[in-house]
Amino acid sequence: MTTVAATADLASLDELLDLEKQKLSVIPKRTASRTERWMQYLGFPVGLAVFGLLYCAPTPIGLTASGQAAVACFALALTWWITEPIPTHVTSLVLMVLLVFTDAWSQDKVLGVLGLDVIWLNVMAFILSAILIRTNLAKRLALQLLVRFGGHAGTTLLAFVLLQLALAPLIPATAARAVMTLPVMLVIAALYQSSAAHPTNFGKNLFLQNLLGINIFSSGFMTGSTANLIAVGFILTMGGHRVYYTDWMFANLPVAVIAMAIAWWMGPRFLFQIADVDARPRLSGGMEALRTQLRRLGPLTFKERKGIAIFGLVIFFWVTDRFQAGWFGFSVDPVMAAMVGVIITFMPRIGLLSWNDADIPWHLMIFSAGAYAGGLALDQSGAARWVVQNVFDALHFGRQANFWVVYVIVIAVNMYSHFFFTSKTMRTIIMIPFVIGVAQVLGFPPVSLALPAAFTIDWVIGLPVSAKPNLILFSTSQYSLLDNLKYGFVMTTVGIGLLTIAGLTWFRVLGITPGF
């Protein structure tokens, strides 16, 4: 009798762990809630109205006609992405067509977006991710993680915080960290019975918390992203202040760690409340079933070892990027590193996968391409710069403006601006010079505003198109765009609060912000 029950438990566990059923390339069917249906119903005409108002209005002074058209098209797409009257990837196609038809951006540029390195990196990342799934490595890692951390939602989520913190200084590429941890997240979500078709609040917390961790742990290190380095360059050339690696890390790593701790505590309690019944893996055999399953996997198989070798090679390229110029005479770009891994993966006899095994969500690539086209059109038409300039002009900072009022506003504007940009680099190039300009006009040390503003660069968590890893995690369909928006808005607001408190205390100790 006991044997029969145990076999049944394992069978159901096998079913849960069968990631073949959770293909990222297949869009799951979901039942829309009443609120979502009203948003769908009203979103379509609202999007058209927003477009009409912005496009038909007289062209404001300082804005090009292309810029005005780009703003109108992007506003329509943003409305439709949030309310989803039509699928998000179809909205992206609408956006691409509108950009061409309204003369906002040329056709060759719009179509060329699908060849951007970010799209290639995503495609390669999904193939590499399939290695971890196909070889059972993801299952093994997830089971080990669960068995070790007790199988409770709180400790499981905490384990991922620590995992992302450990990976951040080793692997600067955020997409790389996303692709490495995604399969493990998928297995853990499955064990907590959260799937694309039936996402639970545990799944939402798991994926969104990881999205936050992958992004903001990059803000703890000056080399965490190219945009951070560009900001440091502006602070030196325009503000006359050199920021060193340790200056950055001592100042902002504690902020990032505290932010993650708050997210870990707040998410399951207030944002997406995890019911007691969902707080543990729903397995009739409990933790013992997981241990049994882990034992059944046995020692590492040859395929798993091969998978580790291929993945290890790619990670080696990702981790050693700063030394490669000395070794090879050139640096291997993260996209090329991933491509090398994919080539080996598909090699007959040597590799692990055939093309049919690759699970590439092309609908997300289209969604992503449209979003990038919109973002780039805003940038290249000068519309993004015009909007930012008008925001700062509208604030009317007087000569007698209080530093801390200006500080909070600058942090908030920089933080929330990521909702309207699809590139950290573009955002930095446009925002940081404005911040330095504001500081110089008001007589504040440029670094006192520009460096805290630079600390917001990696807080790109509001939308699936805000950063590369966001799209990778969004492909799981474990949360909706609205969930992403809600989580992103709340956590960036928390971030503004934290950076304000840090400005009043810790940054003063470090000499970044002035005393009272």
């Binding site: 069917k29 979901r30 039942t31 829309a32 249906r37 009203w38 769908q40 119903y41 379509f44 005409p45 058209l48 109205a49 477009f51 009409g52 496009y55 038909c56 007289p58 062209t59 002074i61 300082g62 804005l63 090009t64 006609a65 292309s66 810029g67 989803e84 009257p85 699928p87 003369d103 040329s106 560009i230 360059g233 502006f234 325009m238 038409s381 000068g382 015009w386 680099t425 190039i429 010079p433």
Partner: protein, 238 residues
């Protein structure tokens, strides 16, 4: 999409020997483009004390009519040709006792060709403005403004020299306005011998078809009518 290229090249000729290698604090010019094809040019130059007559200023070639000169008592302006170079020569007596700003204004020809040809896709026309300093004099600050005909807007900046790069804090050009008309401004500092600034941009007459507004309203209404089931049915699978 380049439709028609009009080059307005303001060439500064070799300066008179007495002001050779001099430093002018500011040179500013405004090109007023009109819908009928006529073009007006305003030039302002800050001259330091001691600037001797005659003063040679840039000229692209072609006629200059209805010239007015102000800022220096008794000054007159005329176009002269020296070999292949054209100059606008400002003549006055002696040299300047104090710093002065000389202002020259007039209608230039030939007529603005871009306005004579039919516009191309999306109603766009293309224009290139270029300033080249062929004098040994330095201009501490150069600014140019190309003002579009009333009712026209800048579609996009296609190119500029110096170029707008990713590392520059701000582009060298700006979309601005003058007397309620849309304009493109270009600025540079310390433009010496051989230094040039230029900008190429597309512009068009701003008009939105009423048909678009009607189409948007009809599309929205059609959706609300056709998708009522979204809010009436209890479960919708998507």
């Amino acid at each position: 999409m380049k439709i028609l290229l009009v080059v307005l090249s303001m060439v500064i000729g070799f300066a008179a020997p007495s002001i050779a290698a001099g430093l002018f604090p500011r040179y500013a010019e405004t090109v007023w483009l009109n819908a009928d094809g006529s073009t007006r040019l305003d030039v302002e130059v800050d001259c330091p004390a001691g600037t001797p007559a005659p003063l040679r200023l840039p000229w692209s070639g072609g006629a200059l009519t209805g010239v007015t000169v102000s800022g220096i008592d008794g000054a007159t302006a005329a176009i002269t040709v020296d070999g292949e170079r054209h100059y606008m020569v400002i003549t006055f007596s002696g040299s300047l006792a104090a710093p002065a700003t000389v202002r020259v204004s007039g209608a230039v020809g030939p007529s603005f060709a871009a306005m004579q040809s039919p516009p191309k896709a999306f109603g766009n026309r293309t224009i290139t403005y270029r300033f080249l300093n062929t004098t040994p004099s330095d201009f501490a600050a150069i600014s140019s403004q190309i003002v579009l005909p009333d009712g026209f807007v800048v579609t996009a900046i296609a190119d500029s020299d110096p170029p707008a790069t990713e590392s520059s804090a701000a582009p060298p050009f700006a979309v601005t306005s003058r007397d309620g008309r849309h304009a493109v401004s270009l600025a540079a500092s310390h433009v010496g011998f051989g230094g040039a600034i230029s900008v190429t941009f597309r512009f068009k007459e701003r008009n939105v078809s009423p048909g678009l507004r009607i189409a948007l309203v009809l599309l929205g209404a059609a959706y609300l009518a056709g998708f009522r089931s979204l809010i009436s049915s209890p479960d919708t699978v998507r």
